[in-house]
Symmetry: C2
Subunit: 140 residues, 2 copies
DNA sequence: CGGTTGAATAGACGGCTGTCAAGGTAGACG
DNA sequence: CGTCTACCTTGACAGCCGTCTATTCAACCG
């Protein structure tokens, strides 16, 4: 089985999980929930911001200096700064000044929370199709 | 261990996965990839659309008539229609007319694809922290 | 056929957003 | 202190977005 076939298969399985058990599909989101979530999705709804997020997340040491980010894009400094601010206000990243430079790092908690809306996060909920079993949490 | 403690624990584990192994964190997204993804996130970046998506996904039979959706919101029909169109053009839902009514259903494949950006989808990639093991795909 | 109802389209309008140029602030270094 | 560098803030402006009303389309029913 090729790599691609594997990916397609896993994707189909994931789709099955999403379709039946994701919190999104289990019960309607409240106005409040959808408001909070939408804020995060909205922040990720821009190609530049998504790339910034990815650049920061994948950078060595888990953090990236603004100077590492500006060169990648054909955009002015203020524009990058603006996008970083949007990501920061959405809670997706944090910024810290150390000396001359400002370093950004992602907050995986928030990405995780978003992911739990799409795929079930609680093993206790248990409804997992064959082939994508999730083992229960092992007590410490 | 309470339900909430469990959730927090799982969330922390998920964050660990996202932080180290999600495609988003493994290597920077290309301009093209981020463009495609951003289109989907943008469509989900509105509270009304997110709620519509959730209402459709969680509705009995996996599909919902437009008439089921309009009453939930304090919005005009055309506005709902507009949001449904945005979701449709993002590939998140499909609409089908049967007689007088139009029924919408979600396309879990696309939600799954989005999810794979946040959490690793390929068991072959394997780097899964203890407590959240993913079994390999069983060959047919 | 004409009327009624469910849904989509067209057009308009206010507000938000992405972008830039200009100016401001914080730290490093003589 | 002055100046240089890295970054942010402000203000402006074009374009997009969410919302509405009015209109159109599609299907059912007398």
């Amino acid at each position: 089985m090729s790599k691609q076939e594997t990916e397609e298969r896993v994707l189909a399985q994931l789709a099955e999980v999403v379709g039946c058990c994701s919190p999104l599909a289990r019960e309607p989101l409240s106005a409040e929930q959808s408001g909070e979530l939408a804020r995060v999705f909205k922040a990720m709804g821009d190609p530049v911001r998504l790339r910034l997020l990815s650049l920061i997340a994948s950078h060595a040491g888990g953090e990236a200096c603004v100077c590492d980010l500006t060169d990648v894009f054909d955009l002015s400094g203020p524009t990058i700064s603006h996008h970083l601010k949007v990501l920061r206000e959405a809670g997706l990243i944090t910024g810290e000044r150390r000396g001359t430079w400002v370093y950004y790092r992602v907050r995986p908690e928030l990405l995780a929370r978003v992911a739990t809306v799409l795929v079930p996060a609680d093993p206790a909920d248990g409804v997992v199709p064959a082939g994508r079993e999730v083992l229960p949490v092992v007590e410490a």
